[in-house]
C-alpha cells in the first residue's frame, strides 16, 4: 500500500514478498528516508577503519560476527555483489550505501533479516550468471590480473556452485587438483564451466561435443572423467 508520493527510495528495490515492514518503510515520508540514510552511514562508520575511511577486512570480520555469519559464507559475497563492491575485503561508503539501501536495511538486524531474500534474488537464473562472473572478478586482487590460481578457484567453486551442482563441482575440483596443464583459470574458462554445468548432461556427458567452442580445459576434463569411469 503506497501512501507517500516522494519516491526517494533507490531504484534497486525489486518485487519483494508481502513484508509489511517493507511496505511501511516504502510508504515513509522523505524525512524518514533521510533518517534512514543517516543510520546507514552511522552503521558504516561503526565498522570502518578510522584512518582509511573504508571498511577493511578487520571491519568485515566484525560485521560478519555481528550478522552471525561466517566471513567465508557465500552470503557475504552476495552482499558484496549487491553493493557492486570492487575490491575484495573492502567496502567503501558509496558501495555500502548502495547495498544497504537496496536491501532496505539500516540496522544490523534488518540487514540480517534481508539475507535470505537476497539469497533468493541472487539464485534467480537471470541474476546468477551476473553473480557468478562477479565472484570471479571480485577475486582479482592485483591490477591487470586476469587469472586466479587453482587453489583459490577450487574454494570459489565450492562456495559459489557447490550447492547447485555438487557432483560436477566435486569432480572438477578433483580434476583441477590432479592436472598439471593449467596453473591458473581465466574468466573465459570460469564462465565456460558454469555453462557446462547448465547445459551438459551429467554424469554421461552425452551431449558434449569436443569439436564445438568449449574451452580446452573442459575438453580435457571430460576426457579425464571418461577415462576414470572406464
Amino acid at each position: 500500500m503506497r501512501r507517500g508520493s516522494s519516491k526517494k527510495g533507490s531504484a534497486n528495490s525489486t518485487t519483494s514478498t508481502n513484508s509489511s515492514a517493507m511496505d511501511l518503510f516504502r510508504s515513509a515520508s522523505g524525512k524518514a528516508a533521510t533518517k534512514e540514510l543517516e543510520r546507514i552511514d552511522q552503521l558504516f562508520y561503526s565498522y570502518s577503519n578510522e584512518s582509511s575511511g573504508i571498511i577493511d577486512p578487520e571491519g568485515i570480520e566484525c560485521l560478519c560476527s555481528d550478522l552471525e555469519v561466517e566471513h567465508t559464507d557465500v552470503r557475504i559475497l552476495m552482499v558484496a555483489w549487491k553493493m557492486h563492491a570492487e575490491k575484495q575485503g573492502y567496502f567503501t561508503l558509496e558501495e555500502w550505501r548502495k547495498g544497504l539501501k537496496a536491501l532496505h536495511a539500516d540496522t544490523i538486524v534488518k540487514l540480517k533479516k534481508a539475507l535470505p531474500e537476497l539469497e533468493n534474488e541472487v539464485r534467480r537464473p537471470s541474476n546468477y550468471v551476473d553473480f557468478y562472473s562477479y565472484a570471479f572478478r571480485y577475486c582479482l586482487t592485483e591490477e591487470k590480473q586476469k587469472s586466479i590460481d587453482i587453489e583459490s578457484i577450487c574454494e570459489l567453486l565450492e562456495l559459489v556452485l557447490g550447492s547447485q551442482f555438487p557432483q560436477q563441482v566435486d569432480l572438477f575440483i578433483q580434476y583441477l587438483k590432479t592436472q598439471t596443464d593449467y596453473k591458473v583459470i581465466n574468466m573465459d574458462q570460469w564462465m565456460g564451466f558454469y555453462r557446462f554445468c547448465n547445459e551438459i548432461s551429467f554424469p554421461d556427458f552425452n551431449n558434449y561435443d569436443e569439436d564445438l567452442a568449449w574451452p580446452l580445459i573442459l575438453d580435457n576434463f571430460v576426457d579425464w572423467v571418461k577415462s576414470k569411469q572406464s
Partner: protein
C-alpha cells in the same frame, strides 16, 4: 437486286461401256499363275515379260486387283509349302545348304514376280493398304519355311551347333552361316532376334560361365586373362564375319560378364599370380591386359585401383617403419624414389596413363610418407648428400631431373615447415664448409621451392647466399685495407652471417688463442668501422681452421679442424700432458662440445693427433691428453673436423621438434587474426577449417592447438565469445 444465275456446264467423263468378258479375269489369272509356276520351276526363260506385265496391268485396271493379289498369295504359299518339304527332307549338313539354296531361288523368283506385278504394287496395293509384293514374299517365306514346325527348331539348333563347334576350334562354313544369318536379318530384326540372337546369347552365356569356372580352377591370373582376351577377340571376329553388327556389343557383354566380371575379384586376389604379384614383378603385359579387360566391366578399374592403393600403402608403411631402412636416410629416400619410379612406369606402360590411377598413387605416397615424422629431415639429408657429392659429374639435365624428383617428394610432405628447418641447417653447414658441389644446383632447387611455396619460404635461404657473397667482398676489402698490418699472423677468413637468415645458434663461450684473437679483433674493428650500428659475435662452434703440425720424425701434416679443436690443439704448443679439467678451463668450451671435440682428436682411428690416458673409448673428466708424436697418415692433408650434416640424435630431434612447434604458434595466431579480421564473426568449426586451409602449404595444424591459440587470443582480448551463441567468436577491433 437481281443476280444473274450462272449456269455451269459440266462436261462429264466419257463413260465407255466396256463389256468385260466375265471369264476374262479368270483367263488372265491363269496365265499369270502359270507364269509363277514356271518361274518357280526355273523355266522363266520361256516367258515374255511384256505380256505378263500387260496382263497384270489389265487385271488391276479392270478392278480385278483383289483376285490377282489373293491368287498370288495362294500360289506362292503352295510353292513354299513344297519347298518346305524338300528342306525338311534334307539330312544333316545338307539341311542348311538346301535352305540357303532355296532361299536364293525364292529371292530370284520374287524379284521377277515383283517386276511383273509392278503396276499392282504401285497402285492397287497402296490404296488398299496391303503388303507390297516383295515384303509379302518375305513374310510368306517366314511363315511357311522359317516358322514351320519341322524347320524352326532344326534351324536354330543347327546354327548354334555350328557356332559351338567353331568355339571348339573346328573350321565351319562361314559363308553358309553368313547367308543363312543374313536371311534371318532380311526377314526382319525380330525374326533374327527370335530365331537366332536370343538363343545364341543364352547358350553363349552358359558356355562362358562353364569355361570361366574351368579356367579359374586351372589357370593362374595371367593365363586366365590371356584366355579371356582370346575369347573376346574371337567373338568380335565372329560377328564381323557372319553376324549382325549390332550383335557385337551384346555378345561382348556376355563374355565380359561371364569371364571377367564374375571372376574379377578372385583374379585380382589370386595368390602368387594376382594383381599384387604382377605389380611387384613388373609384369607390364599382364597388367596392361588386365587394365583393358577390366575397363569393360563396371567397377573393374576401381577394383584394380583399390587393391593397388592398399598394396602401395602397405609396402610404403613397411618401408617407413622399418628400422633397418631408417638407419641410412639417403638410402631410405632413394628407395622412396625408386618405388615411385616403378609405379609411374607401370601406370605409363600398362594403365594407359590413367589419371585416376596417378591420383591414387599420389595419395598413397602422401599417406605413408607422413606416417614417419622424420621424413622431412631425411629428405633434406638426401638433398644434402646430393648437393655435396651425389651430383658430381652429372649432366645439367640429369641434375634437374633429380631435383624435380626431390620436389615431388617434398610436395607429399604435410610438415613442410619441418623440412624448411632442416634444409636451412644443412644448407648452412654446406655453405660454411664450402662443400656444395654446384652453386647452380643449389640455386635451382631454391627456385623450385620458391615456385612451389612462395617467396616467404625461400627469402631467408637466399639471404644466406647473399651473406656468403658479401663476406667474400668484405674479406677482400679487409686484406686490402689492413693486410700489411698482419705480418706473419694466421690468415683469417670470415663469413659474416645475418642473424635471422641463418639457423639460430646459441652463442657459446670459447677462449681463442692469442694469435687468433689479435687478427679477429683487427677484423672486427675494420668491419664495424665500415658498418655503423651493427654488432658482431663470433660463432666459435661453426668455424674451422687449417693447422700445420710437425710430428716426431719431422713429418709435417696440415690438419683441417674445427675452431674448438684448434683451440685445444694450440694449447699443446705450450705444454703436454694436459688434463681434461685444464683443457676445459683454458678453452672455456662447453662440456658436451668439448667431449665430442676431444673424442674426435684422440679416439678416432687414423686421426688421433692426441693420445689419451686411459685408452678408453669415452672421454672422462679424469683423463689426461698428450700430443701424439707417433701420429702417421699417408695423406699430407688430414681432415679431422666434423661439420657434415648428420641424422639428428634423439635429444636433438626433440629440440628441433619443440622449436618447430613454437614457431607454429604465432603462425596459427596470425592466421586466426587474419581470418577473424575479414569475417568479423565466425563459428568454431569454420575457424578451424579456414586456419587449416590457410596453413596447409606449410603444415597440418592440430585442432587442439588451434583451440588453445583462440583461447589465448580471447585472454589477450583480440577475440571474444558471442554472448548469445556460444559457438561464435567475435573479432575485437
Amino acid at each position: 437486286m437481281s443476280s444473274q444465275k450462272k449456269r455451269n456446264f459440266q462436261i462429264e467423263a466419257f463413260k465407255h461401256r466396256v463389256v468385260v468378258d466375265p471369264k476374262y479375269a479368270e483367263k488372265t489369272w491363269k496365265i499369270l499363275e502359270h507364269a509363277i509356276h514356271e518361274i518357280y520351276n526355273h523355266n522363266a526363260s520361256g516367258l515374255s515379260f511384256e505380256e505378263l506385265y500387260r496382263n497384270a496391268y489389265n487385271m488391276v485396271l479392270h478392278k480385278f486387283g483383289e483376285k490377282l493379289y489373293s491368287g498370288l498369295v495362294s500360289t506362292m504359299t503352295s510353292h513354299l509349302k513344297e519347298i518346305a518339304v524338300s528342306i525338311e527332307a534334307s539330312q544333316g549338313a545338307l539341311f542348311l545348304e538346301e535352305l540357303d539354296r532355296k532361299w536364293t531361288e525364292h529371292n530370284k523368283a520374287l524379284q521377277m514376280i515383283r517386276d511383273i506385278l509392278m503396276y499392282m504394287d504401285r497402285t492397287f496395293i497402296p490404296s488398299t493398304h496391303k503388303t507390297p509384293v516383295h515384303e509379302l514374299g518375305l513374310n510368306l517365306w517366314r511363315d511357311n519355311i522359317v516358322h514351320s514346325i519341322k524347320i524352326q527348331m532344326r534351324l536354330k539348333d543347327r546354327l548354334l551347333e555350328l557356332v559351338q563347334r567353331e568355339r571348339g576350334s573346328e573350321v565351319i562354313n562361314r559363308g553358309l552361316m553368313r547367308n543363312v544369318v543374313k536371311m534371318l536379318m532380311d526377314l526382319g530384326s525380330l525374326v533374327y532376334q527370335e530365331e537366332f540372337e536370343k538363343p545364341f546369347l543364352v547358350v553363349s552365356a552358359d558356355f562362358y560361365r562353364g569355361e570361366s569356372q574351368q579356367f579359374i580352377e586351372s589357370c593362374d591370373c595371367g593365363d586366365y586373362l590371356k584366355k579371356a582376351e582370346k575369347r573376346l577377340n574371337e567373338e568380335i571376329e565372329r560377328v564381323s564375319h557372319y553376324l549382325d553388327a549390332r550383335s557385337e556389343v551384346k555378345i561382348t557383354n556376355v563374355v565380359e560378364k561371364e569371364m571377367i566380371e564374375s571372376q574379377m575379384t578372385r583374379l585380382v586376389h589370386m595368390e602368387n599370380s594376382g594383381l599384387v604379384n604382377m605389380l611387384m614383378d613388373d609384369k607390364y603385359d599382364d597388367l596392361g591386359r588386365m587394365y583393358h579387360l577390366f575397363r569393360r566391366v563396371p567397377n573393374g578399374l576401381s577394383l584394380i585401383r583399390d587393391v593397388m592403393t592398399t598394396h602401395i600403402r602397405e609396402t610404403g608403411k613397411q618401408l617407413v617403419t622399418d628400422p633397418e631402412r631408417l638407419k641410412d636416410p639417403v638410402d631410405f629416400v632413394q628407395h622412396l624414389l625408386d618405388e615411385k619410379d616403378k609405379h609411374d612406369k607401370i601406370i605409363h606402360l600398362s594403365f594407359n596413363n590413367d589419371k585416376m590411377f596417378q591420383n591414387s598413387l599420389n595419395s598413397s605416397f602422401e599417406h605413408f610418407i607422413n606416417l614417419n615424422t622424420r621424413s622431412p629431415e631425411f629428405i633434406s639429408l638426401f638433398v644434402d648428400d646430393k648437393l655435396r657429392k651425389g651430383l658430381k659429374g652429372v649432366s645439367e639435365e640429369d641434375v634437374e631431373t633429380i631435383l624435380d624428383k626431390v620436389m615431388m617428394l617434398f610436395r607429399y610432405l604435410q610438415e613442410k615447415d619441418v623440412f624448411e628447418k632442416y634444409y636451412k641447417q644443412h644448407l648452412a653447414k654446406r655453405l660454411l664448409s664450402n662443400k656444395s658441389v654446384s652453386e647452380d644446383a643449389e640455386r635451382s632447387l631454391i627456385l623450385k621451392l620458391k615456385t612451389e611455396c612462395g617467396y616467404q619460404f625461400t627469402s631467408k635461404l637466399e639471404g644466406m647466399f647473399t651473406d656468403m657473397k658479401t663476406s667474400d667482398d668484405t674479406m677482400q676489402g679487409f686484406y686490402a685495407a689492413v693486410g700489411h698490418e698482419l705480418g706473419d699472423g694466421p690468415t683469417l677468413g670470415v663469413h659474416v652471417l645475418t642473424t635471422g637468415s641463418w639457423p639460430t645458434q646459441l652463442t657459446t663461450t670459447c677462449n681463442l688463442p692469442p694469435e687468433i684473437l689479435t687478427v679477429c679483433d683487427k677484423f672486427k674493428t675494420y668491419y664495424l668501422g665500415t658498418h655503423n650500428g651493427r654488432r658482431l659475435s663470433w660463432q666459435t662452434n661453426m668455424g674451422s681452421a687449417d693447422i700445420k703440425a710437425t710430428f716426431n720424425k719431422g713429418q709435417k701434416h696440415e690438419l683441417n679442424v674445427s675452431t674448438y679443436q684448434m683451440c685445444v690443439l694450440m694449447l699443446f704448443n705450450n705444454g703436454d700432458g694436459l688434463s681434461y679439467t685444464e683443457i676445459e678451463q683454458a678453452t672455456g668450451i662447453p662440456t658436451v662440445d668439448l667431449k665430442r671435440c676431444l673424442q674426435s682428436l684422440a679416439c678416432a682411428k687414423g686421426k688421433n693427433v692426441l693420445r689419451k690416458e686411459p685408452m678408453s673409448k669415452d672421454i672422462g673428466e679424469d683423463d689426461t691428453f698428450f700430443f701424439n708424436d707417433k701420429f702417421t697418415s699417408k695423406f699430407y692433408k688430414v681432415k679431422i673436423g666434423t661439420v657434415v650434416a648428420q641424422k639428428e640424435s634423439e635429444p636433438e630431434k626433440q629440440e628441433t621438434r619443440q622449436r618447430v612447434e613454437e614457431d607454429r604458434k604465432p603462425q596459427i595466431e596470425a592466421a586466426i587474426v587474419r581470418i577473424m579480421k575479414a569475417r568479423r564473426v565466425l563459428d568454431h568449426n569454420n575457424i578451424v577449417a579456414e586456419v587449416t586451409k590457410q596453413l596447409q602449404s606449410r603444415f597440418l595444424p592440430n585442432p587442439v592447438v588451434i583451440k588453445k591459440r583462440i583461447e589465448s587470443l580471447i585472454e589477450r582480448e583480440f577475440l571474444e565469445r558471442d554472448k548469445d551463441d556460444r559457438k561464435l567468436y567475435r573479432y575485437l577491433a
